[in-house]
Structures are given as structure tokens and as C-alpha cells.
């Protein structure tokens, strides 16, 4: 008999070798797209997180390679356009991307090479899930993972408008949306994400959100002691916090890191569309349809016989002109 996999607390450990039952089940879903009355899970998984410490990143792209390897995607071979990003953007086959930016720090007069691993942030309040019209195409598990369920996805691209970080990409092959899964299939069997496992400098670490926040605080303290007085954690509260979060040496200016949003939140336009427009629209259309049926049943506008006669007289008179 197989045993249920433990909830992973690190990506560093070697995986168990015996077969394990998944420990990330459909019953662990706390929110599903277009599913207003989802029954709540009976258990709460430990909240997990991936921490990306950009100050430790050397831009080697091992995380990208591990991601492609694990997810068995085949990003197209691109062309060198003189920049380090490869491919040039996230694609349906590339769920994570090292983004490189050069910044002339006015305080020190030094050129800084800021490298950020881009990908899904696994928001506590996911805009993609809110925007999605297809029931169960986007789910959020109680451990914080936001995952796309491809057989329910219809490829409309609403998740793209919902996301404050410009992450989801729609495949031209199967017309469904792709992004980082936080290796939900690895987490389900007690392992950490492939990128964290592959990172040679421990710039990417994985564990419980609590442990990761504690570790991030240590890192921030260390960076401050080294002169990065604006070092800090990027765990944006506008989206309820995220389950992929950063340590930045310039946390006061997140946008330095290849346009990481300073204050990400679900666009009020998306909220208005999915909120008041939907509710009021359904109500107005319902009332109008019901009103039309009722008035149609109880009254009518009918031609009187004398009007037929009047018309006949008119036509006859004209023809006799």
C-alpha cells in the first residue's frame, strides 16, 4: 500500500523513492473560477511559498532549464537580438524567464545589473481566477498554489486581462492558457519546485510561507548591513500577498526590475466588469425579459376592423384618381 506524500517544506531534500499518493487533491481547492458556491475543504494545507532573492541571482538560467525539463515544454529556438533574455518573453512553453535590466544607480554612480526571475506570483487574490469565465479552469488550493486546469480552459484570454503581472500566455497549439504551476505536480508528492531545486546559489528557495518570510527577513537584514538600505521584501498586499515573492535590494523601486509593478492590484476595470456590471446586467436583462413577457401576455395592440375598411377606401379612391 502506498502512503500519502508529506507536504513539502523544502526543495533541497531528495525526493522519496517509494510510490506516494498525491497530497494535493481536488478537495483542497478553496477557489475555482466561475464557481460561486464551491464547497470549502475540510482541511487546510500549510501555506507554501517560493522566495526569489534577486541579490543572490547570477542569471545562469538553470531555473529556466529545470522548468522546461520538468514541464516537458519545447520553447522555440529564438534569435539573438543583443539582449540576455532568452526567449524574449514568457511563452506558452516558457513559464519562467530571467529578465535583465541595467540601472545606473545615481546614489553610487555605479551600473547595476538587476536580474529578476519572472513568472506567476501565485496571488492570494488571483486576478486571473476572478476574470475567468470557464468553471474550474483556474483553481486555488489551500496551500496557495494557483493552477490552470487545461481541460476546462476555453482559451478566451480573460485571465490575461485579469492578471496584474502579465503572466498567462495562450497557446496557439491547443488554445489554452499556460503559466507556472509552482510545480503543483511535484508539491503534490512532497517535492519542491524544479526551479528551486536547480538554483545553484539558493537565490530560489521554497518552503512554508512562514519559513520563507523569516528567511527573507534575515536576507533583508544582511543586505542592509551591506549598505543596501532600501532592501526589502516584495510580497504585494494589493493582491493579498503572493506565494512567489522577492527579496529586492531596491524594494523602494520594484519597477527597476524589468517593470515589476510598484503597487500591483487587480485592475478596477476588471473588478467593475466582474462585479457590478455582471450583477446589475443580469438583473436588468432578467427584469426586461420578464416584463416583456408579462406585458405581451396581458395586453396587445390590435388593428380594428374599421381600420381595414378605411385602408380599403383609401386604396380604392387613389386607384380611381
Amino acid at each position: 500500500m502506498t502512503e500519502t506524500a508529506p507536504q513539502p517544506t523544502t526543495a533541497a531534500a531528495n525526493p522519496p523513492v517509494q510510490p506516494m499518493e498525491s497530497n494535493l487533491l481536488p478537495s483542497d481547492v478553496v477557489r475555482a473560477s466561475a464557481t460561486p458556491d464551491l464547497p470549502q475543504p475540510t482541511r487546510q494545507l500549510t501555506k507554501i511559498a517560493k522566495l526569489i532573492d534577486v541579490s543572490k541571482c547570477i542569471g545562469c538560467k538553470a531555473c529556466q532549464a529545470a522548468c522546461v525539463e520538468w514541464n516537458d515544454t519545447n520553447p522555440a529556438i529564438g534569435e539573438n537580438t543583443g539582449v540576455y533574455e532568452n526567449p524574449h518573453d514568457l511563452t506558452p512553453d516558457m513559464f519562467t524567464l530571467m529578465r535583465f535590466s541595467e540601472w545606473d544607480n545615481p546614489a553610487t554612480n555605479e551600473l547595476e545589473w538587476l536580474i529578476r526571475k519572472d513568472g506567476c506570483m501565485h496571488c492570494e487574490d488571483p486576478g486571473c481566477l476572478k476574470a475567468c469565465p470557464a468553471p474550474g479552469a483556474i483553481v486555488q488550493y489551500s496551500n496557495g498554489i494557483v493552477d490552470f486546469i487545461h481541460e476546462n480552459c476555453i482559451g478566451c484570454g480573460y485571465c490575461v486581462t485579469g492578471c496584474p503581472f502579465d503572466i498567462p500566455r495562450i497557446s496557439k497549439v491547443d488554445n489554452t492558457s499556460y503559466k507556472c504551476t509552482l510545480c503543483s505536480d511535484r508539491v503534490a508528492v512532497g517535492q519542491g519546485p524544479a526551479c528551486a531545486k536547480a538554483c545553484p546559489t539558493k537565490a530560489i528557495v521554497f518552503g512554508t510561507k512562514e519559513d520563507m518570510v523569516a528567511h527573507a527577513n534575515d536576507r533583508v537584514e544582511d543586505l542592509k548591513s551591506r549598505g543596501y538600505e532600501n532592501a526589502g521584501i516584495y510580497d504585494p498586499q494589493g493582491v493579498g500577498g503572493t506565494h512567489v515573492f522577492y527579496v529586492l535590494h531596491h524594494a523602494d523601486k520594484p519597477s527597476l526590475y524589468s517593470d515589476l509593478p510598484d503597487n500591483p492590484r487587480i485592475s478596477p476595470i476588471v473588478e467593475g466588469w466582474k462585479g457590478v456590471t455582471k450583477t446589475a446586467g443580469m438583473a436588468v436583462m432578467g427584469v426586461a425579459a420578464a416584463g416583456a413577457v408579462l406585458m405581451g401576455l396581458f395586453s396587445r395592440n390590435k388593428v380594428e376592423p374599421e381600420e381595414e375598411i378605411a385602408a380599403e377606401r383609401l386604396v380604392r379612391d387613389r386607384e380611381e384618381l
Binding site: P133, A134, W273, M285, V303, E308, L314, V315
Partner: protein, 228 residues
Amino acid sequence: MRRPLYSERGDHIESADPVRVSRYRGLTRLNHWVTAISLIVLALSGLAFFSPYLYFLTWLFGGGQIARWLHPFVGVLLFFSFLLLFVQMWRLNLPKPEDTTWVANIGDVVTGHEERLPELGKYNAGQKFIFWAMTILIVVLIVSGIMMWEQYFAEFVPIPVRRVATLIHSLSAVAIILVFILHVFAAFWVRGTLRAMTQGDVTGGWAWRHHRKWLREVAGREGRDAAE
């Protein structure tokens, strides 16, 4: 020949006893029904994406993926189909002074006292409202719809613009469904109207009651032609 003021050139008296007046020729009726079916398909598939409670409507089309694929193509079909209708109908839908009186006395319309209102041409102010509302909303819907057409146009429209387009598309979709409900309701409520779009003609009494100026012009024209 002078362009008629209240009728199309093709409108004519089909028979004098009983009076039947031709209102829409076959091509126009076909054009109307292609537009109508497109609008219904668009409303059903669009509503499925509008509310989770209506997502089951995608079943009519064989699933969400197919509904998502089909919706924009039918939108393009509706746009061109309506464009043909527009070309045929816009002139007689221009506002006239009697429209103001008609709107001011809308109560008499609702209670069925059209004899208290001025005589009207081929369209009353309500029909004109539906025509222009449809026109404006279809233009807004096709433009915003193309902006959110993920499959072919995603790369040309920045995401913040797409958000606005999506909101506008859903608002105008609600509006056009309301206009559609009014249009269908009026066609049923005013008895004798439907046959104009099915058989193509109306009774003399219907024309006398609702569009007397139109009837007078059509009848008068035939009288003159007969005399010539």
C-alpha cells in the same frame, strides 16, 4: 422619379381587396433573419461567458472552446449582415418632426390610442430608436470585440486597453440585449407586424393604424402610375 419621403421605392400595394401592402422584399427579409440568428447566437454564447450561471449555454455549441471560437466569427457575420440592412433602411430612419410628438405622447402608444398621434411614415420613433441603438451598439461591439479577440488580435492590443474593451463590450452587450428584447416584444405586441418580416407584407388596416403616411404615399404613387 422623385425619391419618396415616407416609403421605399419597392413598397407597393399587393392587392386592393383585401388591402395588402408589401413592406420588405425577400432579400431584405433574408438579410434580416441572418442578422437576427447571428444576434441570437451571439447573445447565447456571449451570455455563457458573462455569468457562471449561464455557462451551461456553451453546451448548445458543443462546449466552451467551440463557443469561444465561434462567437467572434458570428460577430463579423452580424456586422456585415447589419451593414446591408443599414444601407437599405437608414434614410427612412432619419428623425422627423412628428417623432417628437410621438415620443411626447408615448402613453397613448402604450394604451393603444394611436389615433391621437400624428400620421407616420414607414417607421415610428420607437422603431427608429431601435434602428439607431442597434447601429451604434453593433459598431461599439465589433470594435471592442476585435480588440479582445485573443486568437488573432491579442498581440496588437495592450492589456490595459483590452481591459477597457472588455468592460465596454460587456456593457454594450447588455444594452443590445435590452434593445433586442424591446424589438421582439414590439413585433409581437403590435399584432400584424411579424408577417412583414415573414411573408413580407402587412394588412391595409395595420398600415392605416400605424404608418398612415407611408400607406398614403404608397397608395398615391400607385394611383398616379396607374393613371399614366
